[in-house]
């Protein structure tokens, strides 16, 4: 069974630039999550989708972060403009339904310089 796919694996950008991350969840998984993991900390939920609708985006910094999940499958997370404190690993996860076992992708390590 194919896992959650994310790209790119690594990205280095300068502050104030924009960046986008892509996620392809496990086939059939209705729920998709984006987490931000700062070095030495646990993952922090940024946004949760159920199919192509947003369930929870309460911790998403909406002035600079945006996410979409078109057609209820792939998802894109964008940061514009990036700040130094956005340096982190961005993890995408999916599950059959909300609250169930989540499968994580390898993540995208973002470094903002």
């Amino acid at each position: 069974e194919a896992g959650v796919a994310q790209s790119p694996r690594y990205k280095i950008i300068e502050k104030r630039q924009s960046v986008a991350f892509w996620c392809n969840p496990i086939s059939g998984h209705a729920t998709l999550y984006w987490y931000q993991q700062i070095l030495g900390q646990g993952p922090k939920l940024l946004i949760q989708f159920q199919n192509n609708g947003v369930v929870d985006d309460s911790q998403l910094p909406k002035d600079r972060f945006s996410a979409e999940r078109l057609k209820g499958v792939d998802s894109t997370l964008k940061i514009q403009p990036a700040k130094l404190e956005d340096s982190a690993v961005y993890l995408c996860a999916s599950s059959l339904g909300g609250g169930g076992r989540a499968f994580f992708g390898q993540g995208t390590r973002l470094t903002v310089v």
Binding site: Y33, G42, Q48, L91, G98, G99, R101, A102, F104, Q106
Partner: protein
């Protein structure tokens, strides 16, 4: 609210036992346990649901005390492969996403 994990780190010899605790200040519906190795994605270990009993997975088991809003992960006869950072993720109910603790670093020495 972020659950609190203890201890922050533990170093064991192979074959020793460990207990990792996770507590929350709010009512819990579920507790999820994950293990993450350096540079890798978190890997699911188990879910404990409100009203559920203790669960086990080979030599790794966990309990969930709803009244105390706590969960504990038990690793018995630890193996080198158990090394990593263990996270508990708590769910408030329904289809909520998880709120993760800061993690417990486990180092198993030969």
């Amino acid at each position: 609210q972020q659950p609190v994990q203890s201890p922050q780190a533990v170093i064991l010899r192979e074959g020793e036992d460990a207990v990792i605790n996770c507590s929350s200040s709010k009512a819990l519906y579920s507790v999820h346990w994950y293990r993450q190795k350096h540079g890798e994605a978190p890997v699911f270990l188990m879910i404990l649901l409100k009203g559920g009993e203790q669960k086990g997975h080979e030599k790794i088991s966990a309990s969930f005390n709803e009244k105390k809003q706590q969960s504990s992960l038990y690793l018995t006869a630890s193996q080198l492969s158990y090394s990593g950072t263990y996270f508990c993720g708590t769910g408030g109910g329904g289809a909520d996403g998880l709120t993760f603790g800061k993690g417990t670093h486990l180092i198993i020495q030969p």
